[in-house]
Symmetry: C2
Subunit: 114 residues, 2 copies
Amino acid sequence: MEKTKIDVQELARVLKLLGDSTRLSIMQYVSKGECCVCELVELLDMSQPAISQHLRKLRDANLVVENRKRKWIFYRINEHHVAYELIHQLLEELPSVDDEFEELDRKNLRIICD
Amino acid sequence: MEKTKIDVQELARVLKLLGDSTRLSIMQYVSKGECCVCELVELLDMSQPAISQHLRKLRDANLVVENRKRKWIFYRINEHHVAYELIHQLLEELPSVDDEFEELDRKNLRIICD
DNA sequence: CCCTTGTATAAGTAAATGCTTATATGATTA
DNA sequence: TAATCATATAAGCATTTACTTATACAAGGG
């Protein structure tokens, strides 16, 4: 069974989306578990529309999927994307974001919703 | 021995460069062996200045290294780049470019220079 | 029902990008 | 030394990008 090959244009499209530090960070956060928009706004210290627009691009490319719970919209990485394994490896090269999540907890800005 | 981590900004910079199908193809070609500019112009069917400008970006980012031989300038992938292993894995996801190199041979446009 | 909260979208803008054409540079050859 | 070949650089331009501010929309809570 031959491993699936990815088209150059398609891979370039994905890499272009990941080639922005805000979006790359978003991908890292949402790969650790679901994040809602307001959490990402806090984690990345950026305006809500800016985050929303980045999320739209990632969603349009199917790199993330949304999950609506009560009044929040949670995003998580799409594990079924053709390039998921590759993206996962990329993200593993990055320093941990555990501290950022802990700080979010300390500030009581983590949204727990089950 | 902990594996070297790459800064988010730095990885994003690399991915941004790879997030262009022309440059991604160039990287693929020069990872298979040295290519001079005129070969890349032929392989990618683009203008010489366009290729040159893409090569400059890749060279500035240390993703490729140049090697001057006689009147040609050959480029090859920089195996010592921090993200080399990662890039190598990315390139392995792409379909082979052997046919393109063979066509170059058939057209007698391959530069052999030793 | 209103009012608030969370998120999305629209419009505008400055900066970056990727080409083009024209020209410069540098090495090779006649 | 002049002509040629391979490549680089400069300038110009249309398009894309990533923000901003303002507004819309959708879900909950009083």
